[in-house]
Amino acid sequence: MKIQSKKLEVWYGNKQALHAVDLAMQEHTITALIGPSGCGKSTYLRCLNRMNDTIEGVVVKGGLLLDGYDVYEPGVDVVALRRRVGMVFQKANPFPKSIFDNVAFGLRLGPRIPKTELDGRVEQALTRAALWEEVRDRLTGSALGLSGGQQQRLCIARALAVEPEVLLMDEPTSALDPIATAKIEELLHGLADRYTIVIVTHNMQQAARVSDQTAFFFMGQLIEVAPTDDLFTHPTVKKTEEYITGRFG
């Protein structure tokens, strides 16, 4: 298993947001996390790269394994972890820098990379994010001049440039129009060959379209997890069925 959580629990102060979540994800698969707003999807996602650490008062208990090693073990280098587990946010957040500098940002954090290699890796990342053709002539232009959908693909390229193993996406298309959304969904299929992807979505059609496995969260609990086709056609828990048939949420 690429990722495995064992009785993972999260508190914000003394409010418990996740209850004993057991969830496993195979390498090079796409897992969708679904459930109504506030059920803990983002909280779970932020455990995987320890971005929860940046929130005051968060306590995480239980086990979370990446390639079998505990992510929360004392002494873990969070910075190194985040280079292996990339993240794309709900709202596209490119830096107010050029397109090139955005993609190169992560690459420049480590030891110096020769210019030709840097150029190559930026192009590669933009190509994988299906953005290269649109921006190849304006790499020095500001990233803020791109459309919303392009900005989000730029953020994907920026995350891919550091060659992570896992890519976390928190409702990456919720602010985008259907065409931009379709572009990103299409992109995801190709990315699964190289990366293990975890995507949070409140859009069940999207989960059904892009993922191999779907996990349904409700009130901080993992209610059901199954291969996507099974979960949407034969949910075994009543709550799941109510949710996917649109009876609440």
């Binding site: 209850h19 208990k61 090693y69 280098d77 992560g106």
Partner: protein, 345 residues
């Protein structure tokens, strides 16, 4: 807490995720540097307040309070003589005038031949101001970074207003502190005849600029969208890299504005430098020489000249030079802010 975890961490070989000790040490060092900057800033500002308070308390002791004043006779003499020491009792008419104004190194409006060389004062002004900025900028930005990134929210809420209030220290009071405390300390520490020097003025102006720089820089740092910080951290940048590569560039115009406001206040500042710098009109050879700035020259001499005299008009020319310098500073800051607004490759 029922249902709490019963999961036990597996006993494995060394977790390959652990490490990063060097980076952590570096971050701790930087954190320490910011904390130090904040401590020094607050310490200096509060210390000045304490000096004032202690000196003022003696005035309540009645007559013997003055007799027991901590001032040495020389220091006390300074209070009566400092502004007027450079002036002759009666300004004699100047029969002839030396040529050089901007390039001249001799300022002697009352000599047999009157010289109006303004260069020493330009150099003095630049020396005092730039040294002040060189001291205040790292300290102020460090303290602001501490407030914005390291300080617990509680401490921040208390310390930031304290620093801001200290922007209200009147300049004459700072000059007083310069004569009584900082100057003598400099003289003692560096074995100088008198501590009243460019260095003394620079230290005081740095203190004067500090609250402005800290407050505006901190505002600029906290105004940077959290999104940028999150994106940077998620890409594997540590907090230091995030500060230097993301937050400071995004806050650049605010930081430049903070420095320029601090510097603008320092260049135009009159009373503090007049009191603290020793007011020698000769070209300074080092930071420890007494100097007289453009502002101090105007303040000292204007009241003693005849309206309409050559000397009188020369002081206006000095004022024009001063104005050109402040204008240049403002222009430079404007350009810097414009530049940072656009995008670069």
């Amino acid at each position: 807490m029922e249902g709490a975890s019963t999961y036990v961490h597996p006993v494995t070989t060394r977790n390959p995720l652990t490490g990063g000790g060097v980076r952590r040490a570096r971050e701790a060092a930087i954190r320490g540097a910011f904390t130090l900057a904040a401590l020094v800033s607050v310490g200096v500002l509060v210390g000045i307040f304490a000096v004032l308070f202690l000196q003022a308390r003696e005035s309540f002791g009645g007559n013997e309070g003055i007799a027991q004043s901590t001032l040495t006779p020389e220091q006390r003499a300074l209070f009566t003589d400092v502004e007027f020491a450079a002036l002759p009792a009666v300004p004699p008419p100047a029969p002839s005038v030396g040529r050089d104004f901007l390039g001249g190194t001799n300022w002697n409006p009352t000599g047999a031949t009157a010289y109006y060389g303004v260069l020493p004062m330009v150099v003095s002004t630049l020396m005092v101001t730039l040294c002040a900025l060189a001291l205040a900028a790292p300290l102020g930005i460090g303290a602001a970074a501490w407030l914005a990134y390291v300080a617990p929210p509680r401490a921040r809420e208390v310390i930031k207003p304290i620093i801001e209030v200290l922007a209200a220290i009147p300049s004459v009071v700072l000059g007083f502190v310069g004569i009584v405390v900082v100057g003598p300390a400099l003289a003692h520490g560096f074995g100088l005849q008198s501590g009243l020097s460019a260095a003394n003025g620079a230290l005081l102006l740095a203190v004067m600029a500090l609250p402005t720089i800290v407050s505006i820089t901190e505002d600029a740092l906290t105004a940077v969208p959290r999104d940028y910080v999150q994106a940077s951290l998620a890409l594997g940048a540590d907090r230091w890299q995030t500060l230097v590569r993301v937050v400071l560039p995004a806050a650049q115009s605010g930081v430049v504005a903070a420095l320029m406001l601090g510097m603008g206040r320092a260049i135009g500042e009159t009373m503090t430098v007049l009191m603290a710098c020793g007011n020698a009109t000769a070209m300074p050879g080092s930071i420890f020489d007494p100097v007289r700035t453009l502002t101090a020259t105007i303040a000292i001499e204007l009241g003693e000249t005849d309206v309409g005299s050559r000397h009188f008009h020369m002081l206006f020319a000095v004022g024009l030079v001063l104005f050109c310098m402040t204008f240049a500073v403002n222009l430079a800051s404007e350009i810097a802010m414009r530049k940072s607004g656009g995008s670069r490759a």
